[in-house]
Amino acid sequence: MNLNNFRFDVDADGVATLTWDMPDRSMNVITQAVMDELERTIRHIMSAPEVKGCVVISGKSDFSGGADLGMLEASSHRFAKTAAEKGEEVARQEFFDGTRRLSLIYRELETSGKPWVAAIDGVCLGGAFELALACHHRIVSDNLKTRVGLPEVKVGLFPGAGGTQRVIRLMPTGDALQMLFKGEQLKANAAKAMGLVHEIAPKAELHEKARAWILAGNKGAAPWDDPKFRPPSGRVFSPTGMMIWPAANAIYRRETQDNYPAAKAILHAAFEGLQLPMDLALRVESRWFAHILGTKEARVMIRSLFVSMGELNKGARRPKAEPRAQIHKVGIIGAGFMGASIAYVAALNGIDVALIDRTMEAADTGKAHSHKLMSDQIAKGRAKTADRDALLAHIHPSDDYAVLADCDLVIEAVFEDRAVKAETIRKAQAAMKPGTIFASNTSTLPITSLAENFSKPEDFVGIHFFSPVERMMLVEVIKGAKTGDRALACALDFIRLLRKTPIVVNDSRGFYANRCVLNYVREGHLMLMEGVPAAMVENVARMAGMPVGPLALNDEVALDLAWKILQATKADLGSGAVDPAQECLLDTLVNTHGRLGRKNGKGFYDYPDKGPKHLWSGLADLQSAKLDPDTLDVEDMKQRFLVTQALEAARTVEDGVITDPREADVGSILGFGFAPFTGGTLSYIDGMGVSEFVLLCDRLAKKYGPRFAPCDLLLDMATKKETFYRHSSAA
């Protein structure tokens, strides 16, 4: 066998080993060449009577990450080309045939008559795990890094190489659907408990155990090809099926608001496939797979959540000339909630932290935050006491700025007040070793003006962590007018150590994320004042794809803060910059009723000691009009929520705050949960087309006010038929 991506050996006992080890790649992926070679190998083994069976194993530290998503993109390009040359119908057929090739190869392996064993160490995901599922026996290593799973749904795809059909034949339907919906990466024990793998073995014994299974005379036949096979939950049309499927459909809607075609396709493929013999079931799965590959959601989700996020994580915006910053110890000034949380994530990633506050007591309280977070993890069985001890050993509380002397980076996270920040910056500078980068963590104050307090503004940068820091994956890095490449690189290197995703923005009021979020919250306020029932404001926002309703979100942030921001905006930009209806609403809530949000147990919601929060019954009294919900256009409301944010994102591009559409998209999804199925704020606009978006803005502006008026940039792009992604690559 002459193979490039695999090594193929047959031992004296007649057991073949196919070692997947692609040259010039650190991780095995499924490519056209891999498919060709796998197909040849399967056929070779079928025709070689001396070969009893085959072990497939990786020559690398991981098994494989799955299919090369670039290959999928290539199929789309081929489709467009064929459609243009031979017509849509031919193109569709070729696309379908092409995209199901992997599924057919796996099926050929499964029905080849020779036993195949997958021996898995490290990561084995997506199309690679589908290969394992097609094998007759699966052994995974007890390596802590071993993970198996079908994460396709997370990027808008779905397991189209037999994954849905084999999982629903291995597991009870409810569990199988949950596994497919969640797309989780499973550890060895979990995978075994779920019946997705057969054995767990030490890494060193993987190959031998796999060989032994073949030598024991096991047959190469899948259980579902036995005519007596019954799927674990029985037939779809059965009393059990009647218990499972209605709830499965409802839970799909609950979890996705019916916004994710790939998740729905999983349901379809499972429901239809369970009623068919395997070969037909796989064909139906392929039909759904081809359909999903053609959806806008898959295209934009792959781009933002896989490609762009990966690029940003790898430092797409990092000044390349700068050497990697050596950050062993970070100084954090301000041990309040934000500072303490940053200290926690730094320590979690093995970085020493000097955690400074005005008093030793305050600094200790900051460290105690990490103790609590780790204790919660221990209680959930996700960490051990030793992990907590190790983490806490990294955090050194202090009330003395002198400890900054050996820090490689200093971050202040003190109160959001110019005077307080200015004093902190000056005191810190005096204690820091020369040349150390200083970062201000702020969500509101312009970095350029803060940097004026620092003698070397080129070494000064803004870092905006989102709360809660331990959960939020996004960090905004803000370049002040004078921020230098070294400071920017240092901030990005630090964020990479924290395994978070950075976006780099230029200085402006609210930077990027908060500008969009403020618009979102305002739209909720205004709808309420128009007379839309509060519950409808919240529910429709979630139906639009947002994780939290605007009123609930405002409660989390605090209503008095929203009120203060409004007053500051008015002071800085004039009363025209503030919507009187919104001001009236916040004024009444905060100043008349003392409703400040979750922090005092009453905001838009009430927060009883027992039971879930519920909307404050007094909200209806604040509405001068009451609209009949049955007459309201839900689609229109959904658009208002998304458009107000996307439009603001476009304005940040126009203002030069955002310079790369990938950052706007990834930042919007990770930073404030902007409807992920849209691919993010700018992909939402590109997805419908800029001209269409401009028309939508015009329509909304006419109906709801000039805040929806499209900005000049959009009008210009519409005229030139540009998109944000084409615009940027042309630039």
Partner: protein, 402 residues
Amino acid sequence: MAEAFIYDHVRTPRGRGKSDGALHEVSTLGLATTALTALRLRNHLDTALVDDVILGCVDPVGEAGGNIARAAALTSNYGHHVPGVQINRFCASGLDAVNFAAAQVMSGQHDMAIGGGVESMSRVGIGASGGAWPVDPAIAIPSYFMPQGISADLIATKYGFTRTAVDAYAVESQSRAAKAWGAGHFAKSVVPVRDVNGLTILDRDEHMRPSTDMQSLGALKPSFVMMAEQGGFGAVALQAHPEIERLDHVHHAGNSSGIVDGASAVLIGNARAGEAAGLKPRARIRAFANIGSEPALMLTGPVDVTRKLLKRAGMNIFDIDLFEVNEAFAAVVLRYLQAFDLDMARVNVNGGAIAMGHPLGATGAMILGTALDELERSGKSTALITLCIGAGMGTATIIERV
């Protein structure tokens, strides 16, 4: 166009739809045969005149499957020339069977036909026929499928019917049914179910609980909380009607229709066939209609179909003396009363399915008969019969005494 007259109506008593119910030992065919045989015997019906037997059945599988109407026509000794057809419009099947029979007569293609229905819920089981709607993602998702009880709770929440209001309605249904039975208001139509020896198996509606009061209902826990929360249906309801923050679960076994077994049959014919059979018409079918309604609320079809029907018939709500609105759930009737601003004194005056039960495929023809008997008893003229239907539909019929 020929007129369709109602010549007679019979129904079985309704047996509790469980294995300890009196009619559990009687097959679906046996129930249908009881009704058809009674209709034949008590009218000395010349079955040569009968052109068709149309029976509603909602779960036509197993013993109720195939074509139960043809089987029952044969076992009821109508003669081999009388064909049969089974139809399914879920809960309105029995009423639609009557409407179909009327339509055959009105069209002039048939002279006499029987419409009715049968359901042995204790033997076949609710939902036994399956179907795509609740399970196939292709229809379940876009139609916001929910179990009916959750739709009923959604109606109560949306239109503001409290637990007290729905319970009070249920108490009234029980009390009206008990009074009606006591006064013999059903005597004209109810035919006992007998065994092979002629011994009576059941001659009264078995599901009623006349002693029901607010206190006894207050002790019952809402039935659909767990389904809504764990089955995901609560979220489905809110996505269909997002102005609702959370469902108010008010329905339980005591204010929902009872699960029962039973059968019914209505003899429909044109004037000539009636004369030939020597029968006097009791009423005429003035108009009927079907409609699709919002599928998440599912059970508000009676409101929509009533509006459509009144318009078609050139009538208004005040032209109707009596209403039979099937008591699938208390909120269904309360919504109907609210939508038309109706007085309870004109609606379900002899109680309904909350007290006496709802043998799915048979109910429509049963309550049409109840309305007819009551018109005659009270000397009134016009009644409207309507039922809510799964998947969001409504069927209604207006009858008028002659």
